[in-house]
């Protein structure tokens, strides 16, 4: 799958959690998904968003790690903390601007998505992007993503910090109007 990239498009997400359920099947962290799906605000909207490691070029998690436990592969995949080095200090959990790493107390270890290194290195797509039924998570050729309405971006500003990532986020087209309440779409007889 040379040249394929990972794209996250929250606007396609239907909140089904196929990604979480499939991720939790991985034999390296069974029962513990490394991806999360959240409602933005369920009372007001059905919108959901998947959060997966963005695999930063210069990963904040690695920068703040006091024991140099977080490594990046030559092809840009940021890996879970190395078990012999991780001191479970939580620095990475607190520092990540995307809120990705999780401290797994059962394993005394920071764990995060490694983009299914076992699969991608064997020519397969990452599990979540394979099963995702709305392709909110896609692992495809950039040409294919170019046909979508949304635009891929991978540079993010957090205050004075600018982060560039391996994973792309799809930015929606500009819209002129947003309504979320069913009442806004209804016709009601004037009292």
């Amino acid at each position: 799958m040379h040249g394929y990239e990972f794209y996250v498009d929250p606007s396609r997400c239907i909140g089904c959690r196929a990604c979480e359920n499939a991720c939790s099947e991985c034999d390296t962290h069974p029962g513990h998904p490394m991806i999360t799906v959240e409602y933005l605000d369920r009372e007001n909207s059905i919108a959901t968003v998947p959060t997966v490691c963005m695999h930063c070029e210069n990963p904040t998690c690695a920068q703040v790690c006091p024991s140099d436990a977080i490594k990046k592969t030559p092809d840009g995949v940021v890996q879970s903390a190395l078990k012999p080095r991780c001191v479970a200090c939580n620095n990475c959990v607190i520092a990540c601007p995307f809120g990705v790493p999780k401290m797994k107390s059962k394993f005394q270890l920071m764990m995060k998505c490694d983009m299914c290194y076992d699969r991608t290195s064997a020519g397969k797509r990452p599990m979540c992007a394979t099963v995702c039924p709305s392709q909110a998570l896609s692992y495809v050729n950039p040409r294919e993503i170019g046909r979508r309405r949304e635009t891929p971006v991978n540079t993010f500003r957090f205050g004075r910090q600018t982060v560039t990532t391996k994973v792309f986020l799809m930015a929606p087209e500009p819209s002129t109007e947003v309504a979320v309440d069913v009442v806004d779409y209804m016709w009601e007889r004037k009292p």
Binding site: R12, I14, R17, P30, E43, I46, V131, V182, M186, W187
Partner: protein, 745 residues
């Protein structure tokens, strides 16, 4: 007579539902001893029938792997598909036949259980006539099993009462498509969806009930296609709707007539298509005359300008596509709702072309194939009418019986339960059906089950319905038997056997054959394998509408499935129906059928002022017999909740998570409220997967569509009150009663 022999707590302790979170032996053992083979097959759940590979170790399914080559889902799965393997090695699994005793259920031998089943059914028939026994089948069965259910009823029991749980699913769509087109199948393959310029989704929670279809719709939008969603709730696909029409429950037919009104008013119809390929247009055109946008808005609650815009988009599109599901079909005018969608597609010439059509989104695993070959009360194999003398002669010949020995049409599923309640039908044999959870008005269903003189069930888990049985025959999961299924697209695919049934449980097809042979005539059921059943089924379907004569297991294995009709082994199958405007009626024309607005069978009024509508959540399947035992799926959505708009909730003093009592003319249940702005303020929604005091079907009503006999699950009248405290069931459920759906805080 047939009350559960133990308390619900004792039954639950022994038979579950218990939650399985890990594969047999646990994750660690799977890590140490991985799978020894992958079996390419299909998901056991919904009508999408996604391709999936099961990881098998020895005789146990221990996981899954995506099957990316299967063209329909290309590796995609929903959470149910991902976790379906957790049924394997489940502690609740029935490993032996069970016989009821005064003290509960005891295990028994097959000899004893089958003898008892056959003796009791024969006794009832001898005393009260053949039709005093009925057979229930289900649409999650393979096509071979469905065929056997029909043949067992008509040849071995010779009762006319055989029907199936698809009566709660696809019959409104099927009836309408047969009336309009002469055939009951979605006309387009799903590959047409991304090619559509406008997609209209009416009453279909695509994201939760047919999740893979979402990507097909999104791909149309990628090309610039527009999406119109019609639903009283904003379901997840509504987040990308270009137009959302929040229809008032039960008024879909008016909305569709309003759309057709605008199409005709503005001259957007396809005159040449209408003249060349249809009949009945003028009467339909006249019938929509009164439904101006303003008149339509008054009834449906959809703004006139939205009606204008939807009609214009659909009417002007080069390729428009309409999709519908149970939202419009689960109504006492379900058939008319579907006909009104078809009328719009026909009037605009959107049928039988690439990227243009109208389709039903089939719900159950074999919702399509399960209704084609003879477990429906009025149909014989090949989607033939049981009232058609030529069809009867053909099938009687294949079965080696006299045509006059073949019973006529019997009662439908709900009518069978009503006949049991009246004491007319006294014996019931059921497979793949959990009516105590899935039929409307469950208190009535329970009373009926208690009146049965004999109730035999084939099942793999002891469902709530099976708790009322005299004999429970331990059957097979989908992966423990072989056969074919037909997907929502009309694609016939091969379900491969991955493992043998555990313990003394047996393959459903063998159990059905054994019962039939014991009832006799034994020589009419000589099959040694599902393949031999399929070979006979091919002949029985030959020349029928659903013609499988050219389909073989070998052809299915060397392709990615075949679309029927497929009349010869050299025929490539028929992915798209009606190309060139050729329909299945004798004159080749499609029919416009006049529809009318009628009130619901359970109208809202001063005492019951709020609409109650029901449906599904993404992590559960149907009556939950399987999915309520799979830990991660239960964790995702632990308990039913009442979706209620803040405007309605505020007027009743209801806060989020408050216990509220929902009451209809049948019964009342108490559940937690879930305040959401994604539902009409005159409507509440509850999903139906749960039993007992959490079952919303205690509240639904038995009004049936006069043609399809589907119950009106989608429209009931209720009132809602804040409850004083938690209901009794909350204590039984423990912490789960307080749990939020995953991701909700």
């Amino acid at each position: 007579m047939a009350k559960p022999p133990l308390s619900s707590a004792a039954l639950r302790d022994r038979f579950g539902p218990h939650l399985q979170h890990e594969p047999p032996g646990g994750f660690e053992e799977r890590g140490r001893y991985p799978a020894d083979r992958l079996v390419k097959t299909h998901c056991c759940f919904c009508g999408q029938q996604c391709g999936i590979q099961l990881k098998v170790r020895g005789n146990e399914v221990i996981g899954f792997e995506p099957w990316e080559e299967f063209p329909f889902n290309r590796g995609m799965l929903c959470p149910k598909g991902v976790k379906r393997y957790l049924q394997g090695g489940h502690p609740d699994r029935l490993l032996d036949p069970l016989l009821r005793t005064d003290a509960g259920f005891r295990t028994a031998t097959w000899e004893e259980s089958l003898d008892l089943t056959v003796r009791r059914l024969r006794e009832i028939q001898a005393r009260h006539g053949r039709d005093a026994v009925a057979v229930y089948g289900g649409a999650s069965l393979t096509t071979e099993k469905s065929y056997l259910v029909g043949k067992l009823a008509r040849v071995a029991l010779r009762t006319r009462h055989v029907d199936y749980n698809g009566r709660l699913c696809m019959v409104s769509a099927g009836t309408a498509y047969k009336m309009a087109f002469g055939v009951d199948r979605s006309p387009n393959p799903w590959s047409d969806i991304p090619l559509a310029d406008v997609i209209l989704v009416a009453g279909a929670n695509v994201a939760e009930c047919a999740p893979i279809t979402t990507d097909y719709i999104w791909r149309s939008r990628d090309r610039g296609g527009k999406l119109i969603v019609i639903d009283p709730r904003m379901t997840p696909i509504t987040r990308n709707a270009d137009l959302y029409l929040p229809v008032r429950p039960g008024t879909d037919v008016v909305l569709m007539m309003g759309l057709l009104h605008v199409v005709l008013r503005d001259g957007l119809e396809d005159r040449s298509f209408i003249e060349a390929h249809t009949s009945g247009f003028d009467a339909v055109a006249a019938s929509v005359k009164p439904w101006t946008p303003q008149a339509t808005a008054e009834v449906t609650g959809v703004p006139p300008e939205s009606i204008e815009k939807a009609a214009k988009w659909f009417g002007e599109a080069e390729r428009a596509f309409a999709m519908h599901a149970r939202g419009i079909e689960h109504q006492s005018k379900g058939v008319e709702n579907v006909l009104s969608v078809i009328n719009l597609a026909l009037a605009t010439g959107n049928i039988g072309r690439e990227g243009a059509g109208c389709v039903m989104i089939t719900g159950q695993g074999n919702g399509q194939g399960g209704r084609e070959h003879g477990q429906k009360c009025d149909q014989l194999p090949g989607q033939r009418s049981i009232a058609d003398p030529a069809a009867r002669r053909h099938v009687a010949k294949v079965w080696g019986i006299e045509e006059e020995d073949l019973p006529g049409a019997g009662l439908t599923a709900v009518e069978i339960m009503e006949s049991i309640h009246r004491g007319e039908i006294k014996g019931l044999l059921s497979i793949c059906f959990n009516p105590l959870v899935s039929l409307p008005d469950s208190n009535f269903t329970r009373e009926a089950l208690e009146r049965l003189e004999f109730f035999g069930v084939i099942d793999f888990f002891l469902s709530e319905t099976a708790q009322h049985a005299d004999v429970v025959l331990a059957g097979s999961l989908q992966e423990e038997d072989e056969g074919v299924v037909c997907t929502a697209e009309g694609r016939v695919v091969h379900v491969r056997k991955a493992v043998d049934p555990p313990g003394r449980a047996r393959a459903d097809s063998e159990i059905l054959c054994d019962i039939a042979r014991r009832l006799g005539p034994a020589d009419k059921f000589p099959y040694r394998s599902p393949k031999e059943i399929f070979e006979e089924l091919r002949e029985a379907s030959r020349g029928g509408v659903a013609d499988y004569a050219g389909i073989t297991y070998d052809r299915l294995d060397s392709s990615m499935g075949l679309f029927w009709p497929c009349p010869a082994e050299t025929h490539p199958g028929t992915p798209r129906l009606f190309e060139g405007g050729k329909f299945f009626h004798a004159d080749g024309r499609a029919r416009f059928v006049v529809t009318e607005n009628r009130p619901s069978g359970d109208p809202v009024g001063p005492e019951f002022p709020v609409y109650l509508t029901t449906g599904r959540v993404v992590s559960q399947y149907l009556s939950g017999t399987q999915t309520r035992r799979i830990g991660p799926l239960v964790d995702q959505f632990p308990q039913p909740r009442v979706e209620i708009h803040p405007r309605l909730a505020d007027s009743l003093g209801i806060a989020d998570r408050d216990w509220v009592t929902v009451t209809t003319r049948r019964d009342a249940i108490t559940l937690r409220a879930w305040r959401v702005r994604t539902i009409r303020p005159d409507t509440v929604f509850v999903a139906y997967h749960w039993p007992g005091r959490r079952s919303i079907n205690r509240l639904t009503h038995r009004t049936l569509d006069p043609r399809s006999k589907i119950p009106e699950f989608k429209v009931s009248a209720c009132h809602i009150r804040r409850a004083d405290g938690p209901p009794e069931w909350a204590a039984e459920e423990g912490a789960s009663a307080d749990a939020y759906p995953l991701g909700v805080t």
